[in-house]
């Protein structure tokens, strides 16, 4: 799915000049041309059966129809036609916002559909001896199918036999193949992906039409989109405001008649449309779709909008240590020589003995020697007559025999045995150093040598978990946002605490079993907290299901993917933090535009009320503080502003308002200033400008 590659570009343009890390959640991309290409869809959405889902815009639609009828009845009334035209535009602009948001999903869905060509399944018979070719769409749960090099996997399932490399780029956008094998946590395969080598037998776990790729298509297309709880609640509030304004306008006519200023139906409809919260009503569903879309762009699939909303409310994050907080592997951090040995000697021996160790830990020793002690990396071929001893899981040691000198590096136990075997003694100093490292949560590796002076330990390499760059700052940010982070690890409490302290998480769960995780989630939830976590293994499934936001890694088992309410196609657990931020950004965008929309009304009253009644009560012209040219131009300007502001805010609705992790107080102050006060002031300026422009047209000013 090439279109679904992560687009992180906007973060740069929004955060320029801000503090580092500010505005990290940029928005999705918005291309003004989308407004044009989506126009036909917007017109198609004028179907009343579609419009009725948004009560606010439905009222505008009815208003448009009424003014059209009235304009037809009096075809010479330019004002009626102008209002009618702009009311229709208001409705279409609202549909346009939604169409643009959906349009982006459609493009992604098309790409996905291509991957989901009608594959042919090679189904194994019950006894596993014969196979038949059937269309993939006829597969049932429990069927076993065979896939070989070049085959497209016909449906979602688990590998029950064999191991294969699979190209999952159709789903993840990642071109490097992944290994899928029977048993363990890497057994899940997804329909539509391609086997690159070897042969596997797959047990189908999903019905055709409900596979992962099908659900993905539905999701990005918005076909399965249901209103989220908060969206429903907001819709109710908007509907009730619409009713209030409907009452205010409908009852206005008798008052106006009494005052001797009976209003035309067209003016009343114009007033109503200006007052009801059309801005937010028009953009509400686009905001929701765009929020899901922002997740898709980060290669996260949310199975429900509810989960995205819940992400904004999360107050506890459970983060797996490995891969999320620390780099996947331990790395050498320092060399500690025993008395009588210099650091440089030790570094030299450590490097030499690690050259034959291709594990990440071994490489890190070479890197440390180079970076800290300036030791050029030597290559195995450089040393003549050297006998290399490669690291294996059995010996747990690596080293080299060269020039009558034997150097070894490895796990403490193995090296001690080796030294003793060579007739050497292990001093107490080495043991103390090793203990100290263990207590600090690290792993000691011993370096020993056997030369003319006999066998002896030179010193200890301190291997430790390396916390990813910037994690402490991120956790500080999360804390300011009111989110508690809990590190989950299988390490012993000592090691866990050391890493937790270094990373700056609030709490940790050491020697964690799936049951412990589950208990922790339930405990947090009992206190009213919402919990988010990531997981990939089958044993994570219950916890993923229990968590309010459960993000399953795409590399994980199908049980895990089934249990979570989001799937991260990149399988990057750190993304959980971004998911939370996207959830918050979605809610903030909704709130900001609602505030803006309501605040807008004040200016519209100041434009329309004097225009309607200054004839009978000249004093009311005092309220015309914008000094609008004429009653007609005042009302028309308000209606035009009301329509144009929707288009003007489409990019904001799609990208989401800028979000920076900070305390609720500061966020409220900022957004209230920007969208509350801004919403009060902006229309005064906008309406005045439109009026200035209109007054240039002969016959209006």
């Amino acid at each position: 799915m090439s279109t679904a590659t992560p687009t992180r570009a906007p973060q740069h343009d929004t955060s320029s000049g801000e503090q580092p890390g500010g505005g990290r959640v940029g928005g999705g991309l918005f291309d003004p041309r989308q407004l044009l290409t989506s126009f036909p869809d917007a017109v198609r959405k004028l179907d009343p059966r579609v419009m009725v889902k948004s009560p606010v815009m439905f009222v505008v639609l009815i208003g448009s129809v009424i003014t059209t009828v009235l304009a037809c009845a009096d075809p010479t009334d330019w004002f009626g036609w102008a209002i009618t035209a702009w009311l229709w535009l208001t409705t279409i602009f609202a549909n346009l916002a939604e169409a643009v948001a959906e349009g982006r999903g459609k493009a992604q869905a098309d790409t996905l559909r291509k991957a989901k060509t009608d594959s042919v399944a090679r189904r194994l018979s019950e006894d596993g001896t014969s196979e038949e070719r059937i269309p993939g769409s006829q597969l049932r749960i429990g069927d076993r199918v065979v896939c070989e090099t070049g085959d497209i996997i016909p449906g979602d399932g688990d590998v029950v036999q064999g191991v294969a490399s699979v190209d999952e780029s159709a789903i993840t956008g990642e071109s490097a193949p992944v290994i899928r094998e029977s048993g363990g946590d890497r057994s899940a395969v997804t329909g539509g992906t391609k086997v690159l080598s070897d042969r596997i037998t797959i047990k189908i776990t999903t019905k055709p039409g409900e596979t992962f790729i099908d659900r993905m298509i539905n999701l990005v297309e918005g076909a399965a989109r249901q209103k989220t709880p908060n969206e429903i609640a907001l819709n109710i509030l908007l509907a009730s405001l619409t009713i209030v304004f409907l009452l205010a306008v409908v009852t206005l006519q008798p008052f106006a008649v009494y005052a001797g200023a009976e209003q035309s139906m067209i003016v009343l409809v114009a007033l109503l449309v200006c007052l009801i919260p059309t801005t937010i009503g028009a953009l509400l569903s686009a905001i929701g779709i765009a929020g899901m879309d922002r997740l898709v762009q980060r290669n996260v699939l949310a199975m429900s909008g509810r989960a995205v909303e819940a992400a904004g409310d999360v107050s506890t994050l459970l983060l797996d240590k490995t891969g999320t907080i620390t780099l996947g592997n331990r790395q050498a951090a320092e060399f500690l020589p025993v008395p009588g040995t210099t650091e440089d000697e030790l570094a030299d021996a450590a490097q030499l003995s690690s050259l034959a160790d291709e594990t990440p830990e071994g490489r890190s020793v070479v890197v440390l020697a180079k970076e800290r002690y300036g030791l050029r990396e030597r290559h195995q071929g450089e040393l003549a007559h050297a006998e290399w001893i490669a690291f294996t899981a059995q010996t747990r040691m690596s080293g080299v025999d060269v020039d009558g000198r034997k150097v070894r590096k490895g796990a403490a136990g193995s090296v001690i045995v080796w030294v003793r075997d060579q007739g050497g003694q292990v001093g107490e100093a080495a043991g103390e150093l090793a203990d100290r490292i263990s207590q600090a949560g690290g792993t000691p590796l011993l370096v020993a040598v056997e030369d003319g002076d006999g066998a002896r330990v030179l010193g200890v390499i301190h291997l430790k978990d390396v916390v990813k760059d910037g994690m402490r700052e991120r956790f500080d940010e999360l804390r300011r946002m009111g989110i508690r982070t809990v590190m989950i690890t299988g390490d012993n409490p000592l090691t866990a605490k050391a890493i937790a302290d270094e990373a700056g998480v609030d709490d940790f769960l050491a020697e964690a079993t799936p049951e412990d995780k589950m208990a922790l989630i339930k405990r947090e939830q009992a206190g009213g907290k919402l919990v988010a976590m990531t997981g990939d293994g089958t044993n994570d499934a219950p916890a993923l299901a229990q968590a309010d936001v459960g993000v399953a890694m795409n590399t994980g088992t199908s049980a895990a993917k089934e249990a979570g309410n989001m799937v991260d196609l990149d399988s990057n657990p750190t993304k959980l933090i971004e998911i939370v931020e996207i959830g918050k950004q979605l809610l903030i965008t909704r709130g900001a535009l609602t505030t803006f929309s309501i605040a807008n009304d004040v200016a519209k009253y100041f434009a329309i009320i004097p225009a309607m009644f200054a004839v009978v009560y000249p004093g009311l012209d005092t309220l015309n503080i914008m000094r609008l040219a004429s009653p007609e131009s005042a009302i028309l300007s308000a209606v035009i502003f009301n329509a144009l502001i929707i288009v003007a805010l489409v990019p904001l609705a799609l990208k989401g308002v800028r979000y920076r992790p900070t305390s609720a107080d500061r966020m409220l102050r900022r957004n209230l200033g920007l969208y509350g006060l801004g919403g009060l002031i902006a229309p005064f300026i906008g309406i005045k400008l439109i009026d200035l422009f209109l007054s240039l047209i002969p016959g209006i000013g």
């Binding site: 709880p229 908060n230 429903i232 609640a233 907001l234 109710i236 509907a239 009730s240 405001l241 009713i243 209030v244 009452l247 205010a248 306008v249 409908v250 009852t251 008798p254 008052f255 106006a256 008649v257 009494y258 005052a259 904004g312 409310d313 107050s315 300011r480 946002m481 009111g482 989110i483 508690r484 206190g527 009213g528 907290k529 959830g583 918050k584 950004q585 809610l587 903030i588 709130g591 505030t595 009304d601 004040v602 009253y605 009320i609 009644f613 009560y617 000249p618 004093g619 009311l620 005092t622 309220l623 609720a664 107080d665 966020m667 409220l668 102050r669 957004n671 209230l672 969208y675 509350g676």
Partner: protein, 554 residues
């Protein structure tokens, strides 16, 4: 001393007195509604009405109590008025007509005290003291009970239980209103308010001719009229009448009584939800609106232009010279920002803007500080609406006092804010559209429209004050205002109690740094803004054609 300074000093004295009473009374009321003990007289009442005060009620049961009690009250009061002619102690007054009896019964049970009758010419001692004064106590206690039920909705979790209506009702009367009323009545009597059961006296006038005055248990009714934010005067002239409100001090004291309980309830609220700061935020919101309205009112009444204004030092028409502009303005704002509706001056005679301020005060929903109980629950509903919009802006689904504001909560809050605007606007529009109701207007033009707009605003919001000028004793006004008063009182209560029920079933959400702080000045400011904008937008067109047109014409 100029009258401006006098008015300002009176306002400061009032704030000082309210501040002194705030803590002890607020804490006392919190204890009253949290206590497990029952006093002997209370137990007698429970036995008499067959209620078990220990039973915890879910919201439907609580609501049934409220509605049943109020329905019985309406019937009783209606019957009492209809039978007045045949009862002793009625000063010879005849029975009240059905439409007016309905209107008056609805009015006093709904804590409105809209009066389409002249007290001293229609109601005898039995109806006044045995019917109307009793309702002044119990209708106020019902209001506080519903507010307390909502507060329990926030304070309690996962129970669904809101307390016991009968216990709350009886305690409100016995432990709060009665003791305060006794003290207040003594102060009023000391000021010169009458308290007797004298008959009708014929007295001579300075200008010649005679006038009929009757006595009555005025002080005891006056005190609860203010304390319970009822507002129904013993005499038609209400608190402008020297028997009800003889001196500038009694005037200030009556304003104090009006504001006493509504403000103190914010402390009760803070106590009961376990965070006094939350109570202060609500208090601050109420206080800002109240002071701003009072300041605006004084400004517009003192700033009147023209020769008559200049001679009198401001808009003195319709105001008592013993109170002056300052004290009249303070009274007018206090009575319309609460659901009291007592008047010591004629709102109809205020400047155009001044009349608009009294109307807008009621249209805000009477929440600053509002009626006893109803002010608090009305303000909490607005707090929920404000939290809903602002809460989104901090990136969380909204919550208030640890309770999620979800679909159900917002639906009930939205219904609540729909009720009174719907009643006010629809009835006013009907009255303007129909041929006959407009005959009741004394004035024409914008002022005539204001009379009718004011009447329905006052009725639907349960205020009860009149703009004067409007002859409301017609079948149309008696019936429609009666209906507006009942619906305006009890429909919102249905939504408030349902909301309380929904809140109390929730489990609380713990507060974190990501939670919107609702106990900060920023939030109080936001709440003021929400209230002013939402109400302002609702009524702006109507106000533009009434008081604004009038005020801007000058």
């Amino acid at each position: 001393m100029s009258s401006q300074i006098a008015g300002l000093l009176q306002l400061l004295a009032l704030i000082g007195a309210l501040a002194l009473a705030y803590r002890p009374l607020g804490d006392y009321m919190a204890r009253v509604y949290s206590s497990q003990k029952h006093y002997a007289p209370e137990r007698w009442i429970y036995r008499a009405i067959g209620a078990d005060p220990a039973v915890e009620m879910h919201w439907p049961a609580y609501l049934r109590g409220v509605l049943a009690f109020s329905a019985v009250s309406v019937l009783f009061l209606y019957g009492l008025q209809r039978l007045q002619g045949g009862m002793p102690g009625s000063l010879g007054f005849v029975s009240i007509d059905p439409d007016q009896a309905f209107n008056t019964a609805a009015s006093f049970v709904a804590n409105t005290n809209w009066q389409s009758y002249y007290g001293e010419q229609a109601m005898g001692h039995v109806v006044q003291t045995g019917g109307l004064a009793v309702q002044n106590f119990v209708s106020a206690a019902v209001g506080i009970a519903v507010a307390v039920a909502l507060v329990r909705g926030f304070a309690r979790s996962r129970t669904g239980e809101l307390g016991n209506f009968w216990a709350d009702l009886v305690r409100g009367v016995v432990r709060i209103l009665l003791p305060l009323a006794v003290i207040g009545a003594l102060v009023l009597v000391a000021c010169g308010v009458i308290q007797n059961f004298a008959g009708i006296h014929e007295v001579g006038q300075f200008t010649g001719g005679t006038q009929q005055w009757n006595g009555g248990a005025v002080a005891s009714q006056e005190v609860i009229k203010e304390l319970g934010t009822n507002g129904g005067g013993y005499f038609n002239a209400n608190s402008a009448h020297p028997f009800e409100n003889p001196t500038p001090f009694s005037n200030l004291f009556e304003i104090f009584l009006i504001l006493l309980i509504p403000f103190a309830l914010t402390r009760t609220f803070g106590r009961m939800v376990g965070s006094l700061r939350q109570g202060y935020a609500i208090l601050a919101t109420m206080g800002i609106i109240w002071i701003a309205f009072t300041a605006l009112m004084m400004w517009t009444e003192f700033a009147g232009r023209g020769p008559a204004f200049e001679v009198a030092g401001g808009a003195m028409e319709g105001k008592e010279t013993r109170f002056g502009i300052g004290a009249s303005s303070i009274f007018a704002v206090a009575t319309t920002l609460t659901s009291t509706g007592a008047v010591n001056s004629f709102h109809s005679s205020y400047t155009g803007f001044g009349g608009g301020i009294t109307m807008l005060g009621m249209q805000l929903g009477e929440i600053a500080p509002g009626g006893v109980g109803s002010g608090l629950y009305g303000m909490l509903i607005m707090a929920i609406i404000a939290v809903f919009i602002a809460g989104l802006m901090v990136g969380r689904t909204p919550e208030y006092l640890g309770k999620k504001i979800g679909t159900r909560e917002i639906k009930l809050a939205a219904c609540y804010i729909l009720v009174t605007p719907a009643l006010v606007l629809c009835f006013t529009a009907a009255a303007m559209a129909l041929p006959t109701p407009a005959d009741s207007m004394t004035n024409s033009g914008a002022h005539g429209f204001s009379e009718i707009l004011y009447a329905y605003t006052s009725g639907a919001n349960n205020n009860g004050s009149a703009f004067a000028g409007l002859n409301a004793d017609t079948q149309w006004f008696n019936s429609t205002i009666g209906i507006a008063m009942l619906l305006g009182r009890f429909l919102p209560m249905v939504f408030v109690l349902a909301l309380a029920g929904s809140l109390t079933e929730q489990k609380p959400v713990p507060e974190t740094a990501g939670t919107l702080r609702t106990d900060k000045p920023l939030y109080a400011g936001l709440l003021v803004g929400t209230i002013v904008i939402i109400t302002g937008l609702t009524y702006f067109p109507a106000l533009a054609l009434g008081p604004l047109a009038e005020g801007l014409a000058a």
